[in-house]
């Protein structure tokens, strides 16, 4: 698989996290694992955790604690109404952008 530029990923982390949480409520490390399984192997915890904190702060995600047998309680995230709107808006923007980039770069450079 081709390597993905980490700088590009940073711009996409909000979209990816909102999408994953909308799909299934989860906690920080589990989201990192799901991203890796989806092929984003370069997505480090140091990028994901601050992004989750920002999304929670901005009320795009809501959090609740679930007791864990393996240690401290886990903080699960679920998407809020504002988060769902943001996800929709970001997905549309991303689709539009990829369409533009594809349209421009599909031909051979002259």
């Amino acid at each position: 698989m081709n390597d993905v530029d980490p700088q590009m990923l940073k711009g996409l982390v909000t979209l990816l996290l909102l999408y994953l949480v909308a799909e299934r409520e989860d906690y920080g490390y589990a989201l990192v694992v799901r991203l890796r399984e989806a092929g984003f192997g370069d997505m480090a915890e140091g990028t994901v955790y601050p992004a989750l904190a920002r999304l929670e702060q901005a009320k795009r995600l809501d959090a609740y604690l679930v007791p864990s047998e393996k240690g401290p309680a886990r903080k699960y995230y679920r998407i809020t109404a504002a988060g769902a709107l943001e996800l929709e808006r970001t997905r549309e923007a991303w689709t539009h952008l990829t369409g533009l980039v594809a349209g421009l770069t599909q031909g051979e450079p002259s």
Binding site: E45, Y49, A53, A58, G71, P72
Partner: protein, 210 residues
Amino acid sequence: MTLSGWHLLAWLAGLILVAVAATLTILLLAYRARVGGLAEQARTARYVFAYDDALQWLGVGYRERGRLTGELRSNISAAAADAPVREVLERMGPAKELARAVAARRRGPTWVVGAVAALVVIVAQILATILMQLSFISAVTSIAAPYQTVTGNVPLWQTFEATMGDSGRVDMFSSTTHVGTLIIPALGFIIWSRPWRLITHRAARRAEEI
């Protein structure tokens, strides 16, 4: 040194050792995650402590810090099931940078930093006052005549008064501290604690919620 002196020294050393051990144990229990052996728990505790400390210096409140460190500990516990703790911590990057990234939009006033700054200023002021008093007494001793009373004043700080005795030494010395002395520590506290963040922080949060 007498025997009792050695006893006192041994007792003090023992007390310091116990205090250090107790502090380390408390830190380990407060910041550890359920990972591997003692060395890995200590490594995790050190990382989480550094993260908590950085959050505190960045002005994140006590409760919020508790929530953030709790989340970090649970994530480390979960990740440690898949990889060695050392690798898990490396992937998260330096604790300070992680704290800075997490706290980017949560920065409130840094009361602790302000208090430390004020304390440093107060200690510096006490040292400066002692130096001034010693210089004043020395000057009075060298120039004043017997039974003469000399007054010195440092604006907004202190007023000194010394009376010479007949043996060439200062017989009586008094000093009065002015309220103005508090201005500098107060300024230090305000500048370093950044209370205006109470306003900007709330405004930023409100803007994000809209």
